[in-house]
């Protein structure tokens, strides 16, 4: 559904169900340069299993009007205003990559709005290499290539996509090519600059890919240690794009955590 946030169109996929009071809500936040469709299978599952689903397109991504926001706290604040627009008081937040930082910041600063957080492929600090940032700043296609290659396990280009007939590299590149100039840079810089000093008190699950070269599991260690009681699931064969590379294992982890 298309909501209005800050006077602009803000899209959230609801898995073809209306958002209803009385149902628990799970809110999905995508990674840099991506959109709600990256959670396609997982968000659809929850929508058809009794949950309100809000799989958002951050400003400047997918169907939400730009410009892109430039800091993680601004993104987290935008999420709370989107929840207001959808009349959702509290939600569990499932973030991927950049979306994990938004989830953490939201949970720390808006604890009353957050039930649980699931962090899929995360790192803290989420430092982005100078080469990647520079290419994104120049709107060079090199940035799309870096994003695509580092977002998948090394075996991915050899095939065997769990989603029959789809090629993950091509899909990622096609998505990135639709971005307006500067959006990927804004996202990457926001990740790179994010500094977290708060406290997350809600239950947290880390879902990590053992073959993740963008945010290797070890890079999330300090964040796990900062969140009391945080649990983690490491999926052996997956890279950074766990929702696509390991859709069932990712969904199973989410179901177990959110039920």
């Amino acid at each position: 559904m298309t909501l209005e946030v800050d006077g602009k169109a803000a899209f959230a996929y609801t898995a073809n169900h209306p958002v209803e009071a009385g149902k628990r809500t799970v809110l999905f936040v995508h990674g840099a340069g991506l959109d709600h469709s990256w959670f396609g299978l997982q968000s659809r599952y929850f929508g058809y299993h009794g949950w309100n689903v809000l799989a958002v397109d951050m400003p400047g991504h997918g169907r939400s009007a730009g410009p892109a926001l430039t800091s993680v706290p601004a993104m987290a604040d935008w999420i709370t205003r989107l929840m207001d627009a959808a009349k959702v008081q509290k939600a569990s937040i499932v973030g991927h990559s950049m979306g994990t930082l938004i989830a953490v910041d939201l949970a720390a600063r808006q604890s009353a709005r957050v039930e649980r957080i699931a962090l899929i492929a995360t790192a803290y600090p989420m430092k982005v290499s100078d080469a990647f940032l520079d290419a994104a700043k120049r709107n060079s296609y090199d940035a799309f290539d870096m994003s695509t290659i580092w977002s998948h396990a090394p075996r991915v280009p050899l095939g065997a996509n769990p989603n029959p007939g789809m090629w993950m590299y091509g899909d990622t590149q096609a998505r990135l090519e639709r971005l307006a100039s500067g959006v990927l840079y804004a996202d990457l810089k926001a990740c790179n600059d994010f500094s977290f000093s708060g406290q997350v008190k809600c239950p947290a699950l880390f879902i990590l890919g053992k073959r993740d070269v963008m945010t290797p599991p070890r890079a999330s260690q300090s964040l796990q240690e900062q969140i009391p009681g945080a649990r983690s699931v490491v999926i052996d064969f997956s890279g950074h794009s766990l929702m696509a590379e390991a859709p069932d294992a990712t969904l199973d982890a989410l179901i177990e955590f959110l039920k």
């Binding site: 996929y13 073809n16 959109d35 469709s37 396609g40 299978l41 997982q42 659809r44 599952y45 058809y48 997918g62 169907r63 280009p157 095939g159 065997a160 996509n161 769990p162 989603n163 029959p164 007939g165 789809m166 090629w167 590299y169 091509g170 899909d171 590149q173 096609a174 998505r175 090519e177 639709r178 859709p247 069932d248 969904l251």
Partner: protein, 402 residues
């Protein structure tokens, strides 16, 4: 690559089954919709073409039909090149017309012809990367620009070029398909097609494609673009087109085409090198009226071919034999190495007389438009020793002129 010679896949439990049917989990349900062996071919073809994904089909014709049926309803209109494989021409000119989809055919040599034929109900521009049989080189950058200005996609049949000779998506095409029966398979053992989506066309922004951007009652009111963004076209094509029309690829066929694709980069240079030698031989031969190959300076697309097809213009071409129909008949029947049959893109060299076979349903006027005369002979150059082929042609040409 294992051959999953199976129709269906055991579910873990009822919940798993329901989730697969409702697209909440990834996997296979029934081999008409998807199959692990077929999926490997689809993914590799998408990778070779630089697309988001692909759907393998029962034939190239099935791929063309799947593309059209996914994009439009009765009352829609297509602007197509007039230089098409006869089977594609039949589908567009006669069969789809019965179902309310009309096609205007234009000469592909002037890209502006496509623009002039666009109507409010046009939903697709379509051509072959190398036209059949005159080898018109489709100006993919120019035609795709015209398509995009009109918020329409360009579909190309890339059978004659394969991803080795041309990457249509890099030139602006939005969708492409192959008769994988031809060079992709390469061995003449399996009928097959594959439809690839670049994922670059913005269906939502176009506003002309309700099949992809409006709720579909046939799948829980799914709005395919909203659901899957860059994957919308392939999702509908698979979830409706394969499900309902059912023109899927068999797993054994996928395995056979995969064997061919593995050597495509080795076979295509050989096909092209031999073709160049034979084109040069025929161009000098006294029994030959003219040779139609875009690398010859006299071909209307000579300059365009240099730009779009620097690695070669494929291995299928036509020439006109002196003496018309009778000479053509004598020539074909005198060949020993060339197989006389209705196919192209095989490891073995092939020959056919288009006016009486592949294009026999076309009127004389349409034949002329497609550049075919009674003396036109089409060759598909295989992987044999090119000198053996030249010797065979030389002997048959001599007999044809007696």
């Amino acid at each position: 690559m294992p051959i999953y010679q199976t129709t269906s896949y055991v579910f873990r439990d009822t919940e798993h089954a329901a989730s697969l049917f409702n697209m909440e989990r990834a996997g296979h349900v029934y081999s008409r919709i998807s199959n692990p062996t077929v999926a490997v071919l689809e993914e590799r073809m998408a990778a070779l073409e630089g697309g988001v994904g692909a759907i393998a089909t029962a034939s190239g014709q099935a791929a063309l039909h799947l593309a059209i049926a996914t994009l439009m309803d009765a009352g829609s209109h297509i602007v197509a090149s007039g230089s098409l494989y006869g089977g594609s021409h039949n589908l567009l000119a006669y069969t789809l017309k019965r179902f309310g989809i009309e096609t205007t055919f234009v000469s592909p040599r002037v890209p502006e012809n496509f623009r002039k034929a666009i109507r409010p109900n046009t939903r697709l521009l379509f051509g072959e990367t190398l036209g059949n049989p005159g080898l018109d080189v489709l100006d993919v950058p120019a035609v795709s620009a015209i398509a995009h200005e009109a918020k329409l996609p360009l579909l190309v049949d890339a059978t004659f070029t394969t991803p080795y000779l041309m990457k249509p998506f890099a030139l602006g095409a939005d969708l492409l398909y192959h008769s994988a029966t031809k060079f992709l398979g390469g061995h003449g053992v399996a009928i097959a097609g594959v439809l690839v989506d670049s994922g670059r066309f913005d269906w939502e922004a176009s506003g002309k494609f309700a099949t992809l951007t409006a709720p579909y009652a046939g799948f829980h009111d799914m709005d395919f673009e909203e659901e899957s963004g860059t994957r919308a076209f392939l999702l509908r094509a698979r979830r409706e087109g394969l499900r309902d029309f059912g023109a899927c690829m068999a797993p054994m066929t996928a395995f056979q085409i995969l064997q061919g694709v593995e050597t495509l980069h080795l076979r295509m240079p050989r096909h092209v090198d031999s073709t160049r030698k034979i084109v040069a031989f025929l161009s000098r031969h006294s029994a030959v009226e003219r040779v139609i190959y875009p690398e010859l300076p006299g071909h209307p697309d000579y300059e365009l071919a240099k730009k779009l097809l620097p690695l070669g213009c494929g291995a299928v071409f036509s020439f006109e034999i002196k003496g018309g129909r009778g000479a053509g008949k004598a020539f074909i029947e005198s060949l020993r190495i060339f197989s006389h049959l209705a196919n192209v893109g095989d490891a073995k060299s092939l020959v056919i007389h288009p006016a009486t076979t592949t294009h026999y349903r076309m009127s004389d006027a349409d034949l002329r438009k497609a550049g075919i005369t009674a003396g036109t002979v089409r060759l598909s150059i295989g992987l044999e020793d090119p000198q053996d082929l030249i010797d065979d042609l030389d002997r048959a040409l001599a007999i044809s002129q007696k």
